[in-house]
């Protein structure tokens, strides 16, 4: 269970990531960190501040704006025995560098009968909610989740961010590590302060594929991940005032998906809402619902619901964007319809 309470040291997600990166770079000489604005600027999420001085230019590498080039280079390096950590600044830029990821990295172990694993970690900024328009606000969870051979992690808080990044870097498979911009702790992304929590200074691993029950409840299960986890937490607090006891699950990892934790919760509550910041069509929210429906529909007391982003480009205007995004009020309204 994730500790989401304030303790003595509480650090934002980007610092938790920096600590995990620093540890791995220090202890595993096969790792290196590469991407746009990583070295000289320290990363746009300030995850590499001070790294060039500590690890040198061979391991902390600024790339040109050439995602196709450096993603292919990272894939090749991983196939050659290195453990590259590469930053795709915004997931929206995936389109120009998808081929090395899904055709080479994701399938490398399969193509070689396990002889050539591809241990690379792709850190990528996701999400909207701060008025950055259609090409800088997407999450694209389902796009990655749909492609076999890639693990996909989406931390919702600094504690998970550190433990999951250690797991991602040490995993022999390609892992896409999705960092929600509003959870980084950076001021200009309209930060969600709850994501800054107590983080131990030592290294620790949170295994991929294990969801967390962040709040226990009896009447309804709310499933979120990344930013939507916090919408679910707020909705649960609101529902409690109306006498509805909501259980909140943080998926933490999309691939592998912890279907068991979701099913067991819904078997108890009988009601399910999945909250997804990604487009609705063929999305992870639908997959979460399928996890229950395919196993045993008889546990359901009401039709499961999705609260998602609709199938439209993300508006730039703040008023329009906030109108179409998932939020606490939409979750609460959907929940009340189920009783």
């Amino acid at each position: 269970m994730t500790e989401v309470k304030k303790q003595v040291r509480k650090i934002p997600v980007n610092r938790a990531i920096r600590e995990a990166l620093e540890y791995e770079l220090l202890h595993d000489k096969k790792t290196f960190f590469m991407g746009e604005d990583i070295a000289l600027f320290g990363g746009v999420y300030q995850t590499a501040t001070g790294f060039p001085e500590k690890f040198g230019p061979d391991r902390i590498i600024d790339t040109p704006i050439s995602e196709a080039g450096f993603m292919a280079a990272a894939t090749g390096a991983a196939m050659s025995g290195m453990k590259p950590i590469v930053e795709l600044m915004f997931v929206d830029f995936l389109g120009v560098c998808l081929d090395p990821i899904y055709n080479a990295a994701a399938k490398g172990a399969y193509h070689s009968d396990g002889a050539q694993p591809v241990p690379m970690t792709i850190i990528t900024g996701i999400g909207g909610g701060y008025s950055d328009a259609s090409q800088h606000s997407q999450t694209l969870f389902a796009t990655f989740a749909h492609l076999p051979g890639i693990k996909v992690v989406v931390p919702s808080n600094a504690y998970d961010a550190k433990g999951l990044l250690h797991a991602a870097i040490r995993d022999p498979n390609p892992v896409v590590y999705m960092l929600h911009k509003r959870l980084t702790g950076m001021g200009w992304f309209d930060p969600i302060k709850d994501a800054a929590v107590h983080v131990p200074k030592e290294d620790y691993v949170i295994p991929m594929g294990e969801a967390a029950i962040v709040r226990e409840g009896r009447d309804i299960t709310l499933v979120g991940w990344g930013e939507t986890l916090w919408m679910a937490v707020r909705a649960a607090e609101s529902l409690e005032k109306d006498g509805i006891s909501a259980e909140v699950i943080d998926l933490r990892t999309i691939v592998p998906l912890d279907r068991e934790t979701v099913f067991n919760s819904v078997a108890k509550t009988g009601r399910l809402i999945a909250i997804d910041e990604d487009y609705r069509m063929c999305g992870v929210a639908g997959e979460v619902i399928a996890s229950v429906v395919e196993q045993d529909v008889s546990v359901l007391k009401a039709t499961p619901q999705r609260v998602t982003f609709p199938d439209i480009p993300i508006p730039y205007a703040r008023s329009l964007e906030s109108y179409v995004r998932p939020n606490m009020d939409k979750i609460v309204a959907a929940a009340k319809e189920m009783f």
Partner: protein, 77 residues
């Protein structure tokens, strides 16, 4: 010891926002550890504890701050 925002923490002659205390008020902090983040434009600047001791926060999060301003005290333990 007074914790004052150094005049060279950022270059421009502008105010910053005290974004986040990395330790709670009253926590024991160690010399050299980052204790606070102050945002200017799109950059987060940090201030490290000059000595070890008990942190007493003077300024709350989300407050506009200027260079030279007293934001905390550390009582040597």
């Amino acid at each position: 010891m007074d914790i004052i925002i150094p005049v060279d923490l950022w270059e421009e002659d502008i105010e910053g926002t005290l974004l986040a205390w990395l330790y709670e008020d009253g926590a024991e902090v160690s010399e050299g550890e980052a204790i606070v983040e102050i945002m200017t434009e799109k950059v987060q600047n940090e201030i490290c504890a000059p000595i070890s001791g008990k942190l007493e926060c003077v300024i709350t999060e989300e407050t506009q701050v200027r260079k030279g301003e007293l934001i905390a005290r550390i009582k040597e333990s």
